[in-house]
């Protein structure tokens, strides 16, 4: 079954149990408006038939979706559905795994991210990543932030660059008096926000987050989620999360991936449905999405 990547179309689609002659439901004005917003927003990533394989065994297949600018897109789905694999494609992290191969098109601002002349370092500068576990360098808070800009030879006052990054990550007030202390002395939530600040310091377009809150307590999780909502005014964010409520709280659009069993017992991830988050969590189009978000499997 093809993934559902509908917007306004799905709203007017006939559904089981409703005869066409009964008069199809009209879309609510609010929903129409949002669909129009989506049509006017530009895609920062366009994925076309993306397949990722490890050692020739596909992990995720046929992913086709557009990720929009200044939006938070959430990838959800059960373990092994390929959501982390796919997000790692978006800044070529899979390049670091020798057995990994990527086919299909990953377009970043309409440019092929995997073209031969694209510099992976530039890719990872423009497309930052935050991981599941906070991973600050064993250095001071200041040096953690200044490291990327220094390596990239960024011009300007380093103190200002560090302050700006920490401020954007809503961490400045908490750490401004102890910039020289080791980052390992921070709490887990602060360390994760430091990692976000470190990403922001090199002025990216996109922040990829692979389960950024799964190692954090609810208060720190709340702080990160608030931060994401602030950051989307300036950046585009893609988040992989196991926490469906988190996807519902923070994201504008949600992509649901599922594990398809294929021949020979091999399992491969497939995009099932991609739509506005509100739609996914109130009236998903695909029965498999419905079952997953309502906790009936997965």
């Amino acid at each position: 079954m093809e993934p559902t990547t509908s917007d306004a179309d799905a709203v007017s689609e006939a559904r089981p149990g409703v005869s066409a002659s009964a008069g199809l439901p009209k879309a609510l004005p609010e929903l129409d408006k949002r669909a129009q917003d989506a049509a006017t927003k530009s895609a920062i990533f366009s994925l076309v038939d993306v397949c990722v394989a490890y050692g020739g065994v596909p992990a995720v297949e046929d992913a086709t979706l557009d990720l929009l600018q200044n939006e938070i897109t959430a990838f959800i789905g059960p373990s092994g559905c390929g959501k982390s694999t796919l997000i790692r494609c978006l800044n070529r992290m899979n390049d670091l795994i020798p057995s990994a191969s990527v086919s299909g098109k990953v377009l970043f601002y309409d440019q092929d991210l995997y073209a031969g002349d694209v510099d992976p370092v530039e890719v990872r500068k423009r497309i930052g990543m935050v991981f599941q576990k906070p991973n600050p360098f064993p250095k001071s808070i200041f040096e953690n932030i200044a490291f990327g800009p220094k390596v990239l030879g960024m011009k300007g006052n380093m103190g200002e660059i560090v302050e700006r990054a920490l401020t954007r990550a809503a961490l400045w007030d908490e750490v401004k008096d102890r910039l020289k202390t080791n980052a390992f002395g921070m709490s887990g939530g602060q360390q994760q926000r430091l990692c976000i600040a470190r990403t922001l310091a090199v002025d990216p377009d996109v922040i990829l987050m692979d389960e950024p809150c799964s190692a954090l307590d609810p208060i720190s999780t709340g702080a990160i989620e608030e931060l994401m909502l602030d950051l989307k005014a300036k950046y585009s964010i893609v988040i992989v999360t196991h926490n469906m409520q988190q996807a519902a709280r923070v994201s504008d659009r949600t992509a649901f991936f599922n594990v398809d069993k294929v021949q020979d017992g091999k399992r491969v991830g497939k995009l099932v449905e991609f739509d506005r988050t509100e739609k996914i969590f109130t009236a998903p189009s695909d029965q498999r999405t419905e079952q997953y978000v309502t906790g009936k499997f997965g």
Binding site: V11, R15, P16, G17, V18, S19, A22, G23, P25, K26, A27, L28, M244, Q245, A248, I280, F281, T282, A283, P284, T289, E290, Q291, V293, T294, G295, K296, F297, G298
Partner: protein, 230 residues
Amino acid sequence: MSPDSGRQHFQQALAELEDSALGGLDLVLEQLDRVLEALERQDVELAQLVIADDDRLDGRYLEVHQGILSLLALQAPVAGDLRLVAALLHVIKHVERMGDQCVNVAKLIPLSGHEPPVQSEILDRLVQMGQFARAEVVQCKRSFAERNVPMAEDLLARDRDINRLNREIFRLAIEAGDDVDVREWAMIMTLVARAFERVGDNAVDIGEQTAFVVTGLFREFSDASHVAAT
């Protein structure tokens, strides 16, 4: 990956909540039957019983309302489950309103006096209205329980019969003659007709909730503010 696996306690709690809300419609049927009998027989005591028993419906409303709040707070339902919970909130409100309409009729019965000047052409139509309303309540319950949208949509056609009788009763009341007692009785009967007509509307509203649960889109089966000729 079986649809039956996972969150079974939640699914059971949700199913119980639905049973409780739809069970409220059975209480409405009891009230409708008794108030119709009281109307036909001018039985003031039976009417009093209907008024007293409205507490059961109000109790059911509070019980389901609290159950819905708890489920929202504790289980965070989404998708089809969320639509069902939202729809049940409407259903139980309509159930409570239907109960109130039965009380309205019951309160009108003593006003028409000990031996009212009954005009059978009005009373017969009222009884028929009540029976139509009863049939609509049965149908709205079944359509919701079975998630049957065509059956829910058919309620609108059923409701037109009630509306037609309501208009006829109104006309007959206007033409009831010069006798003050007859005119007073007829006026009271237009209020009874109005109550049954509202019960029918509530049943149609529950039908709309059935369509919402199934399709995910809310739409009115008929648009009262832009009425087409019926």
